[in-house]
């Protein structure tokens, strides 16, 4: 299929490569920053656009991959759907559930496929944890804790630093884990959250969540954009007959350059595996496009994840738990 990449930052570039690996053709790269679009377009021999909203409706494009700031997702999805394009949208789906509903309605009305990239569902270590916990081999899960995060993403002035646009670590980063806990252990009952969302004297966000699931499981989820450096994921699942632990810092490969050039906005943790989780995500999405498979994450799942993050932020504001 002919693909337009909308938003040519780090994630846009990653999705372009994954799409290309799946046999899709990158025909158009759009970014309001023309230089970013041009740089990515050159790699794939694609056209360049500095107008994302018109690019999603461009002729000769079958599929759009949206990797822009979260508040732009809804208008881009609506425009793409109206133009009959299938859609890959980076997470978080939208800023709030109301926008998610509109996006789903637009896709359904236009009969286009809408996929949201909750890539943690494709991570090998999370699949291994889910399989082990669900197998019952070490009893039933009663409590789990997941911590995720690192340095605050984005340079000064970046949209990540505007909490109204990014939703902070809770909506942008912790949403991975909120989604995964629901994926592995079912629907949530209620959620409690404390979050910093500081801008002064330093910009940092730190979010601490306790979520009660309908099956009784308690999930403690920590999201951090408060670390001075790096990125780390830790998980622990306690069961009635044992326990599962994972720590990304305990990794098979470590490379330390003697000098460090300016890095990307966010360090994306990559396991040295034959097929990356992003590749698996794109392959599964492609089977759906071809009518031969169904993805493990739906737009409604992505909306449920936004609802959980939204409830968490509401709890943080009111200082009380929020029922889901």
């Amino acid at each position: 299929m002919n693909v337009a990449i909308i938003g040519c930052g780090g994630m846009g570039a990653l999705h372009a490569q994954m799409a290309a690996n799946c046999g899709h053709k990158i025909v158009l790269c759009a970014d309001s920053v023309r230089k970013a679009a041009a740089a990515l377009a050159e790699k794939f021999g694609a056209k360049v656009s500095a107008d994302p909203l018109s690019a999603v409706a461009a002729k000769g494009v079958d599929l759009v991959a949206i990797a822009t700031p979260t508040p732009t997702h809804l208008p881009l999805i609506e425009a793409a759907a109206q133009a009959g394009k299938d859609i890959f949208c980076e997470k978080p789906f939208c800023l709030n559930t109301a926008d998610c509903k509109k996006a789903i309605a637009a896709a359904e009305k236009a009969k286009v496929k809408l996929f949201v990239g909750h890539v943690v569902r494709y991570f090998h270590e999370f699949e291994a944890m889910r399989a082990k916990a669900q197998s019952g081999e070490i009893g039933a899960a009663g409590w789990l804790k997941i911590s995720r995060g690192g340095i605050f993403p984005g340079a000064p002035g970046s949209w990540f630093r505007d909490y109204a646009q990014s939703g902070g670590v809770t909506l942008d980063c912790m949403i991975h884990d909120l989604d995964w806990v629901r994926y592995a252990f079912g629907e949530p009952e209620r959620i409690f959250c404390q979050t910093l969302m500081r801008t002064e004297p330093v910009q940092l966000d730190y979010s601490q969540v306790t979520m009660r699931m309908k099956n009784g499981l308690i999930a403690t989820v920590i999201g951090t954009w408060a670390q001075p450096s790096g990125f780390r994921v830790k998980a622990e699942i306690c069961c009635s007959g044992g326990m599962i632990q994972y720590d990304s810092a305990d990794a098979p490969l470590a490379v330390q350059p003697r000098t460090v050039a300016a890095g990307p906005n966010m360090i994306v943790p990559m396991s040295p595996v034959e097929k990356s989780p992003y590749q698996m995500e794109w392959e599964e999405f492609t089977t759906w496009l071809e009518g031969t498979g169904t993805p493990r994450v739906t737009a409604r799942d992505a909306m449920a994840a936004v609802a959980m993050a939204e409830a968490a932020l509401k709890s943080a504001k009111t200082g009380q738990p929020v029922a889901l």
Partner: protein, 329 residues
């Protein structure tokens, strides 16, 4: 120096063992007698520590001791403290000082009335990694502290710990007070609000109490804290549990894992790896301060009021779960 004579009341709590060892290691201190309502246990301990067993509490308190360490079941602390205070003994009471705020207040009041020193056994304040962490915070390494993430995990102790009439509650009762005290001590702020989800799914068949509490706290000045109090470590785990605290501050972050001073031993006989700790003893510092407080006729460094404050937090956690609200302490 004159010899300080100390008795131990009950070995119901396993920490009594460490305190007895610490007493035996100190110069000019005599472990004069052991009292225990479980005579078999009391006699065995008296034999092990080379002292005598006194079955009758009144006779035990009539001995010429200056102080007692009370390591009975949580719900029995109050009766023993009141009797020991009335007998003029300096008191070191195991944590939690009591299962209820009412009992904790009565304990503090009884010692005040009798003009005896009262300490709460929070040995974590004598853990070198935590002392070093506090020194970093005090020196301003983090600037203003905004948030803390804590754990106090353990294995299910069973026995009276799981009998609410004696313990007052499960893992949350057992494993919230250490961290509540550490937060107060390290940050110099009181805990003002508490929220909690309780669980019992890890030991549903064997425990009637909670085996886990996911506790959120707010400290004076709005510091945000989450804490896991649990008996969640499986039998196959490489150690008993942990005390960890991650501080998020203006100028940096600090992570402390208080008992992570160990070697890992792979033991074919056990069929698993186990940690063997080499860090300094916590009990030695706690007990040495208590002995000094007896000698100097002062309160121990960690007072009965510290114990009361921690119990206020724990009882607020249970109340928060019952009401489904974040509650004031």
């Amino acid at each position: 120096m004159s010899t300080i004579k100390i008795g131990i009341m009950s070995f119901a709590h396993m920490h009594a063992f460490g305190y007895a060892m610490a007493l035996k290691a100190l110069p000019d201190v005599e472990l004069t007698a052991i009292h225990d309502d479980d005579a078999k246990r009391g006699r065995a301990m008296a034999k092990q520590f080379g002292t005598r067993f006194v079955a009758d509490q009144a006779a035990f308190l009539a001995l010429d001791t200056q102080a007692v360490i009370i390591t009975s079941e949580n719900a029995r602390h109050r009766g023993m403290v009141e009797a020991a205070a009335a007998a003029g003994k300096w008191i070191l009471c195991e944590k939690p000082i009591a299962p209820t705020v009412e009992d904790a207040k009565a304990i503090v009041a009884a010692c005040k009335k009798a003009r005896v020193g009262l300490g709460t056994a929070f040995p974590c304040r004598y853990a070198q990694p935590l002392i070093a962490a506090k020194a970093q915070i005090d020196a301003g390494a983090l600037g203003k502290v905004y948030a803390v993430t804590c754990t106090n995990h353990g294995q299910s102790p069973g026995g009276w710990f799981a009998d609410e009439a004696l313990s007052g509650g499960g893992a949350t009762m057992d494993h919230t007070v250490h961290v509540a005290d550490l937060l107060r001590w390290m940050l110099g702020k009181e805990i003002t609000k508490v929220y909690c989800e309780l669980g019992n799914q890890l030991h549903q068949d064997t425990l009637k109490t909670d085996d886990l509490g996911s506790v959120h706290m707010e400290l004076e000045g709005g510091v945000q804290v989450s804490h896991i109090a649990s008996w969640s470590r499986p039998k196959s785990f490489h150690t008993w549990g942990d005390v960890t605290m991650d501080f998020i501050g203006e100028k940096g972050v600090l992570s402390v894992d208080a008992f992570n001073q160990k070697i890992t031993v792979f033991d074919d006989k056990l069929g698993r790896a186990v940690w063997a700790g080499w860090g300094d003893s916590l009990d030695d510092g706690l007990v040495a301060d208590f002995v000094a407080s007896v000698r100097e006729r002062r309160d121990p460094a960690i007072t009965g009021v510290d114990g009361l404050r921690a119990t206020e937090v724990t009882t607020a956690a249970y109340k928060a779960f019952r009401t489904g609200r974040m509650v004031k302490v």
